[in-house]
């Protein structure tokens, strides 16, 4: 039986727990408004760190939407457009951090739609807003294609965002490239990269759209590369190679040069020209050191050629080198420029 002293201690502890209970029921997600302010000051790690520590990402997204209006309106009217963009950028970061699960992915799409409505309320368009739309599109492409939300979701959620971007920036050729890219993504959908087959209709549609952009100074090189790769997957290797070589000869974009060399390697491999393929993958690695896709393809060739130490060195390069996202693995869904876009968006907000 418990002594009176122990009963008193137990009662005291019980009272302490009861008193402490309201604190335990505080919202699980805190620090959202502080996160907006830090992001506006250029302290981007603050919000990514906050999101990283939150187990309930859906709760974070809800809290973000709940607290945003007060934070936006707390500044003077002249600050409101920039604050809307800051909030929208934080929303993109939160969407990007969602785990690849049904409910979280659906919330990520919803969050971007909400942020899109927010930035479109700004009366004047800006470079930061243009970059936000492109970044948001890349995040949507990342979420929608590779987590395999149903096809209806794809049409309903991505297409409107493409239209919003085009409506706001009708002279921006990148939207026409993105729209064609989305058609191309349909050609890749559920067709593994390792299989050569590609559905004919989306491929033809995408090629027609790309052909209209070939002469464009800003997006012509990527349109040409994409045309070349689709032609390769349709079996027209000579046409494909001509396009790819032209990109390699004319572009100065390091990312495109990597992709072009990689595709040239794929074309050569498909034709059984292994030495040419190896040379192409080596060129790709010079342009984008540590590129996982080129390193993997070259590993396979060297291993088959019984040049095992070289294959091993390449495999270790691929497995252990912490590089930025491999462009090729993201090329199919069209979000291969996401890290660059996010950097530029953050810069434009300062």
């Amino acid at each position: 039986m418990m002594s009176p002293a122990r009963v008193a201690v137990a009662a005291t502890l019980g009272a302490v727990f009861l008193l402490a209970e309201p604190a335990a029921q505080e919202p699980r997600v805190t620090g959202v408004a502080e996160g907006f302010a830090a992001y506006a000051r250029g302290e981007f790690d603050h919000i990514t760190g906050t999101i990283g520590r939150v187990a309930d990402r859906i709760g974070f997204a809800r809290e973000l939407r709940r607290q945003a209006p007060a934070w936006i309106d707390a500044a003077g009217p002249d600050q409101v457009p920039r604050r809307r963009l800051v909030v929208a950028a934080v929303a993109v970061e939160a969407a990007l951090a969602m785990p690849p699960l049904d409910a979280e992915s659906a919330m990520a799409v919803e969050l971007i739609q909400w942020a899109c409505r927010l930035v479109r309320r700004n009366p004047a368009r800006s470079e930061a807003e243009r970059l936000w739309h492109h970044t948001a599109l890349a995040v949507l492409q990342r979420i929608v294609v590779f987590v395999r939300l149903p096809r209806t979701y794809v049409r309903e959620e991505v297409r409107p965002h493409l239209n919003h971007g085009r409506d706001r920036y009708p002279d921006d050729p990148a939207w026409r490239l993105a729209a064609a890219g989305w058609v191309e993504a349909g050609a890749w959908y559920l067709n593994p990269v390792s299989s050569r087959a590609v559905p004919a209709d989306p491929a033809r549609q995408a090629i027609r759209a790309y052909e209209k952009l070939l002469a464009d100074e800003e997006v012509g090189a990527e349109a040409r590369l994409r045309t070349g790769y689709l032609e390769f997957r349709r079996g027209n290797s000579d046409v494909a190679l001509a396009h790819v070589l032209q990109v390699e000869a004319s572009s100065t974009d390091r990312l495109l040069l990597y992709l072009a060399a990689f595709v040239r390697g794929q074309i050569s491999e498909d034709a059984g020209r292994m030495d040419d393929a190896a040379e192409a993958y080596e060129a790709a690695l010079e342009r984008w050191p540590g590129g996982e896709s080129a390193a993997t393809a070259l590993t396979a060739i060297r291993f088959r050629q019984e040049r095992r130490p070289q294959a091993l060195a390449l495999a270790e390069l691929s497995l252990r080198t912490p590089v930025r996202e491999d462009p090729w693995r993201r090329y199919g869904r069209g979000d291969h420029r996401l890290p660059d876009l996010l950097d530029r968006l953050r810069g434009a907000l300062q």
Partner: protein, 316 residues
Amino acid sequence: MNRRLIAGPVLLLTLAWAAVTTLSARQTAVAIPEPRPTFRSGVTAVAVDVSVRARNNPVPGLGAGDFQLLDNGVAQRIDAVSIEPIPLDISILLDVSGSSYGWVQQLERNVAELAALLTPADRFRVVCFGLDVREVVPMQSPGEPIRLGAIPYAGGTSLYDALLLAMVHDSGPDRRHLVVPFTDGGDTTSILPVDRVIDLATRSDASVHLVLLEPNDGNPTLVPRWALPVVGRSVTSELERIVESSGGRVHRPLRPFRPSVPEEIEGVLADYRTRYLLRYSPAGVAPGGWHQIEVKVPRHPRATIRARKGYFGGPG
């Protein structure tokens, strides 16, 4: 057998699992070290790594006279047979793609379970694959703490690429290398086509023992059910071809919807530690091209015999 002998040139050849012919690969300019001179000697010697099990236990005490070995259908004289404990290198591959996201914590526990089955002389590493393929724990002894750190999740599954990058690992002449992937078997983003990986698995020194997890059941996966016929059905047979080409097997956990280390894996490890190594010099067959190997143990007709299906003898 005296371990020191393993350093001899012939056993270097055999344990490296190579049919050795004159190196003829063209050398092109690349800033990667050239092949070591050790096992490129022009000698023709072949080793066959054989498991003989009866009722799931290794059959001990077999000698050269107990084996029959056919190289491209031609009976060969076995020069030597050895059996001895050999430490293992294990490459554990964890599927962290969207379809496996819900069971990742369990997979982390599986790493510890598997490490607990290893002996102090063994080593293991952990490679995660989703869209990208990353080594998150470098090769270490089982006694060291396991620090998986942040696992890079991303949609997409580059399983075939992960298998290649793992199989390339060089364990050296006095260890054996096993690749143990935990995966639901789907592949959506590999660069390498499956037939290429099958070919490379045949050439590799590694054996793949794959733990096949059930897709889209018992975990909050994102593979919609309408997509399963496309994603989930054919991959199993493709995977089985890769695994069998490496001399390994596909294993299914006892409770398929909860990833776990299948009990038979412990037996697999013991098996690889005590395999027979048959050494012979091919006679009566052309040296180049693909050599199909068949091994029998007539004295144990019901025994399960596992060995590689063959080797490449260089340009045909």
